[in-house]
Subunit: 244 residues, 4 copies
């Protein structure tokens, strides 16, 4: 089934925003569930997100197999994305990132709590997945097959974000716009939290302040404003669609 042009453009915009905002570098990626086939997802070929264009997008089944006769090298860690779509019908877009401000939380027992309103969509609890718990010490920490991906998804449960020890994080949400926003503000929240912890005791967001997460409305001007701004800064303003 063919993919709407704007979906491809939005996925390119997502790649470029994440690169421009330093959420990803040569590594890290963003995918979207196929709009008309929930058993497939769309993800760039193996390429730095800053360089991705529409023609780089490949189609995969949820167990990470390439759809069609596309022979270009895919990302090793496409299994992260497939496992999320398999386990979570509410999820339509996934980001995997090595953003360094989040990494220390995955190496220690310090919980990564939401403390700023811009990051409230991260939810009240961020689990930490350690690949060694199930697969031992002889891995390169990458999510390199379906089993790794499913174990990650199981640890994530219904959370919006999971930290991956010594590796990075995976974020999942209802749309490309929403998951990019979450991925951009997660490192900001991590920096603010790190600073507050050094000061002493701090006040995290309350349950009521967080629960707005499920109420994401992409039609709000305030959400579109950030998407438009980041896209223009990243040089892909010409790919922007209509505000929903």
């Amino acid at each position: 089934m063919s993919v709407p042009d704007q979906t491809l453009r939005d996925l390119v915009i997502g790649n470029r925003i994440l690169a421009h905002q330093n959420v990803v570098d040569a590594y890290g990626h963003i995918s979207v569930r196929h709009p008309s086939n929930p058993e497939h997802f769309l993800l760039s070929r193996s390429r730095g997100p800053e360089l991705v264009v529409e023609a780089d997008i490949m189609e995969f089944t949820l167990d990470g197999k390439v759809v069609g006769d596309d022979r270009r090298p895919p990302y090793t860690e496409r299994f992260i994305h497939g496992a999320m779509y398999e386990a979570r019908p509410d999820v339509n877009a996934v980001v995997h990132s090595h953003a360094e401000e989040t990494l220390a939380f995955g190496l220690t027992n310090v919980p990564m709590k939401p403390v700023i309103h811009l990051a409230r969509s991260m939810g009240p609890h961020v689990p930490v997945w350690d690949i060694a718990d199930k697969f031992g010490d002889n891995t390169d920490l990458l999510v390199a097959n379906v089993d790794h991906g499913r174990d990650l998804a199981e640890r994530m449960g219904d959370a919006a974000v999971t930290l991956m020890r010594g590796h990075g994080f995976t974020a999942a949400s209802a749309s490309i716009v929403d998951v990019v926003r979450l991925a951009v503000y997660l490192p900001v929240n991590a920096r603010v939290l790190t600073m507050a912890m050094a000061f002493g005791s701090y006040k995290a967001l309350a349950a009521g302040e967080i629960s707005g997460r499920s109420g994401f409305d992409p039609g709000l001007p305030a959400y579109w404003r950030a998407w438009e701004y980041w896209a223009r800064r990243a040089g892909v303003g010409d790919r922007l669609g209509e505000m929903p």
Copy 2:
């Protein structure tokens, strides 16, 4: 009543400087009191400050109602600005920002004191406003109506800056040039203070060293120098007016 062209240009310059200096990102805004109608103020439509041009400026009453038949979406948090102008006749320009270096001070009991001479216009005491104190935990922390705005203004009292827990800060001053300067150096002061606190006990500015605040003279070359420099760096040097 019509707005002088240079007022609109100065407001655009203020938007662009704050964006270029990383005081605001997609969010945060700057307003100015209407030069000939103190019951109105001027503020961009809902748009990232880096993208704002003169045509984006809208006019509001102090309770946040749009003046005229302008149907463009306004910022949700325009009530911050109206409440400041209502409570403080000395205030002619307001900045709201989420600058991350200041956020930890709003999450803890650590006072944000002035320690560098460039930030002395922040005054001796920066109050912290917690929206939950009056409105409980079921908010998204935004100043979304007149009541929120007035509560913030009440907490601010006659201070130059108020921290907003989990959200950011609001700064108010006599002019656009002055409030931009304050908003630029507040995060610098926060970084220096954070570093000094890690070293141990530190010396804050003395009362006499701070009290120059009321004596702001926009005609001084030293003040104009920063405004000109920041404007040129932000690419809006062509909008600069004459040095007062």
Copy 3:
């Protein structure tokens, strides 16, 4: 007496490098002693260093008076420079900066020691000058007259750098190339030292490792390499003279 063209160009290069390397912003300045009249020095008019060109350079006597009938506004703090040239015949170039990484050392009792070889020209001991010690609390911390400048120079003694509490630092050296190098690496040394102090006890440079300072040889390719590199990055490579 006329000033050699290359001296003016070198002073412009110094301004631009310091701005590009974030050692100065709208504030901070660099001067050079007049090559043929040791009782005069050269310094830009009141302007952000990133914008300075040759035509902005003014000439001053050591007590900060403008030479000739130049009516352009000078920097308020030109007295820093004059007092250095007056007190220190070995000094031919001076930088004043607010570089934030150095400020915390001026607010506390923590000594700013040299720990990296690139900063060894800062010398073994960096005194802290507090304007309040002699002039009380009713200043704006600026070096606004000859008395302030001379008190600063007295505190500095024969050091290469003095911290100014709540304000910044002043560095003095034998040439423009040398003082720019010192001003660029001082904040780097401060960041490394801050990190090392958080780790615990650290090893500072030994006396023998520092004492090379007096042996600065501008003819060494390794010194010229940095000057050339910084100048080209700052967009003023076309002003470079011959390697001495």
Copy 4:
């Protein structure tokens, strides 16, 4: 013996990537062993790596002597490179850097352990070399002759990286692509580790997670992806060869 054009281009790409990624500034350098004469190596003349082009590359013997009648000034510290190639037949490319995030580990007794998978090629143990241990306090800390270089190589043993107290680090690996990758991610690892140490106890990479180092395969798309991405960002994408 003549050097293949792509080797020269790769060495230029390496220089530019290291500069663009802030691993080197005016100082620091990268070399490669001569592809057809293992007793020689290739290194730029004394020049900031961001400015290096193919014509700047000089040829040296392992004791740091210039090959041929090339009279251009070489880097003072070319002895670092020669000593590595002399002591380690497995090494074909060397980076020397002053990256500031790594420096504090060389000033203290805190071990720089690998904690993120992208840095696993740094190996399990990073020794610290202190020039003063053998050569006393009357040096400028530079590796200025063959004896300094050989002492550094001896301390390094079979490690991939050695810290140099008060100075920087040296990294050695099988190829230009591999050593650049190591040099880029070493400061990232240092920042994450510094943050984790401030949180409390942390989990470093396990032995099995690190041991993949010897298995570097430059033919993997995932390795090429970073090389291509960094080269394009640094403006030298036109020099890229074919993916191996």
